[in-house]
């Protein structure tokens, strides 16, 4: 490799973040149209939101893998060779595109640990944007709520993602947190009672009782 791996890593990190952001935003949209969490939809319509999600995922991958055609990076002359050590800095051409992103992490590619840091950050950003746009959608369009989405119609659950079927994330957060605070002690107690006898927490609690 004729380029500093740290420079290569910066390029990969920013490109990967964009990919992960677009793909996770798309995945969130597809998933929430299945679960019916309207408070996170980017558009007021289920089908449009789902197709938008699929388009976002495809766009993310297309941009990431096609970027070497117009952005300079460690994928110019020599990138058709398997060894990323032989590469030059520059733009790739069509014949090199399939292998352009195959850069060893010792030469600046992102290893699993770095991907495991960037991916959750991109998911957080994608979720925040879904929550913001979803809240605006509910406010502007005042989308009609279907039978299944009405509170009380879903096994008594009104917090969490179920609550997002008829509320924005921000108003749902208050309700969900209140439910969590009132339920948590009972959830823990009943969980402890039904837990396996080798549960670490059960063993500790039984020991402390003695």
């Amino acid at each position: 490799m004729n380029t500093d791996p740290l420079v290569v890593r910066d390029v990969f990190a920013s490109h990967y973040f964009l990919l992960a952001f677009l793909a996770s935003l798309g995945t969130i949209q597809v998933a929430v149209t299945i679960s019916g969490a309207r408070g996170l939809w980017l558009t007021p319509h289920r089908t449009v939101t789902r197709w938008l999600g699929i388009a976002l995922i495809i766009t993310g991958f297309l941009i990431f893998f096609a970027q070497p055609l117009w952005i300079e990076g460690p994928w110019a002359a020599g990138s058709v060779e398997a060894d990323s050590a032989s590469r030059e800095w520059g733009q790739a051409d069509w014949s090199d595109l399939g292998a352009a992103r195959n850069v060893n992490d010792i030469h600046g590619g992102l290893d699993g640990t770095r991907q495991a840091i960037w991916f959750p950050l991109s998911v957080l950003l994608a979720f925040a944007i879904s929550a913001l746009v979803g809240a605006l959608n509910l406010r502007i369009f005042k989308a009609p709520v279907g039978m299944a989405a009405r509170p009380g119609n879903d096994e008594g659950e009104i917090g969490g993602l179920t609550g997002l079927a008829h509320r924005s994330y921000f108003s749902n957060l208050k309700v969900s947190w209140r439910i969590f605070r009132s339920d948590v002690a009972e959830v823990w107690r009943s969980g402890l009672a039904s837990a396996d006898r080798w549960s670490v927490f059960k063993v500790i609690s039984e020991r402390s009782r003695k």
């Binding site: 990967y16 990919l19 992960a20 793909a23 996770s24 995945t27 969130i28 597809v30 998933a31 929430v32 299945i34 679960s35 019916g36 969490a37 991958f61 893998f65 398997a82 060894d83 990323s84 399939g98 292998a99 992103r101 195959n102 850069v103 060893n104 992490d105 010792i106 030469h107 590619g109 992102l110 699993g112 991907q115 991916f119 998911v123 979720f127 096994e155 659950e157 917090g159 969490g160 993602l161 179920t162 994330y169 749902n172 957060l173 969900s176 947190w177 439910i179 969590f180 948590v184 959830v187 823990w188 009943s190 969980g191 039904s194 837990a195 396996d196 080798w198 549960s199 670490v200 927490f201």
Partner: protein, 195 residues
Amino acid sequence: MNSLDVDLVIWLNGLSGKVAIFDDLMRLVASDYLIPLVFSLCMLALWLSGRTPAERAKYQLATLVGISALAISNVAVWLINISWDRPRPFVDHGDQLNLLFYPPTDPSFPANPVAIGFAAAAAAWSVNRKFGWWMFAVSGLYGFSRLYAGVFYPTDIIGGAVVGVAVFGFTRYLRRFLEPLVTTFVRLMRGLSVA
């Protein structure tokens, strides 16, 4: 067995160089960014996509087990690697192989990407058979692409798959020792309106 392993990787890799577009496709599938991100997105989708609160809770517990299994798979692979440093196929048979991928520097057995893929797929399969089978297929394709590229032996791929599924089983078993912490964590996420 070792000879069969070598013969298979040389034969499969020998198919490369004939159809350029297929080689490019395999290079793309073998990438560190395509299939690993697909696995992560599948875990994200599993977390959010339950249709009822009960189904969602089941999916979310499976996602947590899957993510933990993914991390533990890495540790298991590392432990095997320090006890057996199997050289990559291109190290011992470089003159017979057409390497389509950069030469990784870690040991060959077991295939870490396959172990991770199978751990995640097993988690999905445990709650949604159809989705799980798709993930197994994608994991298998990922393993095949690395085999075709000449960076793994077939037994590395099989070993990776076994490690992934075994680690998932172990992680699922481990969950019983950590209850009610896991269930309470899901409730906390629900309290934050993300579950």
